[in-house]
Amino acid sequence: MQQETEDLTQSIHIQEFLFAIKKKSDHLINYFLFSFFGIGLLLAFFYDTWQIAVGVGSLLLIAYYSTKFALPESNFYQYVLSVVLGVFMAQYIYQMHGMFEMHFVAFIASAILITYQNWKLQIPLMFVVGFHHALFGYLQYAGSENIYFTQLDYMSLQTFIIHMILAGVIFSICGLWAYQFKKYSEAHIDLTFKKQEIENQELKTANYELDRFVYSTTHDLRAPLNSILGLIEIAEDDATDEMTLEYFKMIKGSAQKLDGFVCDILNYSRNSRMQVDNEQINFTELVNDVIQNLKFMGDSGRNVEFKIDITNNTSIHSDKNRLLTIFNNLVSNAIRYQNHKITNPFVSIKIDSTETETNITISDNGIGIAKESHPKIFDMFYRVSSESVGSGLGLYIVKEAVNKLNGIITVESEIGTGTTFFIKIPNN
């Protein structure tokens, strides 16, 4: 399966390359064709062959452009081009009343066709040239009126055969070059792709190792920290002295802050390294999990009211871990920075999902953020005031996670009134 996908991407690379060649060549061909048409008009002065120059020339242009317009996806128009160029040669020979040098136009045509890097394009040209030479040569030889093929007074079968062999050799060589160029391009892309693949693999390994490193480091940091927290909890229970209790409270606060910092680093590293998941999201469950988790964090002992309003008409697919990170950070901020002057602190979570997007609004009636700080709150390590207890990573992580989900986040807040975060994420 892995191999298949790789082959597919590889062939996509080659296709992209060939498509670029096709576009460039098509562009050049436009100039060539109109020059051919123009040369036809110039040649018309010599023997007064205006009807041929305009009539045949326009028909050829129409044939080429109508095919290209009707079948833009297929390469058929290139084969038509091959025929068109062959007929231009025939037209010139006729216009110059069999002037020998006009036969060289066939070689110009053959050389032009190399640009598409497709040897098969030489075949229609060869047939047109062969058919034209045989027919017109024979007719002139047979003495038909108004047939111009050569100014030579001899046109034996032997001359015709040598003529055709030489033309055939040139077409074959041009075809060979076209084939070689294509093979070379493919080999080159193959090589670049493989190199890229190896580099990608190395990067992936390095990323994975770094992730493991961050994981084990944070784990190792958290293990003793949680032991400390556990011991403080036991000790708090045993202590009766007012002063000691106060100390424990402060030690606990510092330990929790440290733990929060370590978790933030882990979250940040995970967000930047992990691929974006796409699983079905049950917002009711997700929000409940978050609230269950954060219920006990209000240190003031006050109950914060949660107002949940989820309008869910459709199935949502997104990245659950990143959504959890976003909700955890925003809801915990709302609880942490509640306004102690207000008697009914609340956190309101409103989620409205449609087929194409999900709008999340998380608002509170907390202490609020001053207007001048709004542009900076999503910056790394930015803390609104010295009273901010966090690491300064929380909102930065939120913004990064929202970015990973291709969403946008905005804030509205006023000191003393509360804060509202609006998040819009596309529904995959």
Binding site: H219, I234, D238
Partner: protein, 145 residues
Amino acid sequence: MDQPAAKPSFKKILVIDDNPTDRYIAKRMAEKHNFAEEIILYESARKALEYIQSLEEEPHLLPQFIFLDINMPDMNGYEFLDEYSKISETIKTNCIIMMITTSIHPEDLKRAENNPSVIRFLNKPLNKEKFGIIEQNFSSKKKSS
């Protein structure tokens, strides 16, 4: 304020953790919150497994809950679970395994959730709230007395 007079909720629990401080915390917390009558502590997962297996003939002596740490030397939590899945059904129906860890790695969480023997994944430290949740969820297993 130390020991509430009420009877402990459960009969016997087993704590497997290589860290002596964490074992102590688990023990003290369980005592304080009157969680179990008997608290068995094991430093080594391998020895704990032997202990459980030795009780196969006397299922009433089996611990009702096993609190299992993940990161341990010699045999870690997952290796313990692998071995545990091979032992007799009698033991498995009598014991409920709770993973206790400091990990917040979603991979660990998924791994624990996918293991049929693991009922719950708890973050350290064990405290009153966590014991409370267990008591609520498994009230049927409480000692009938």
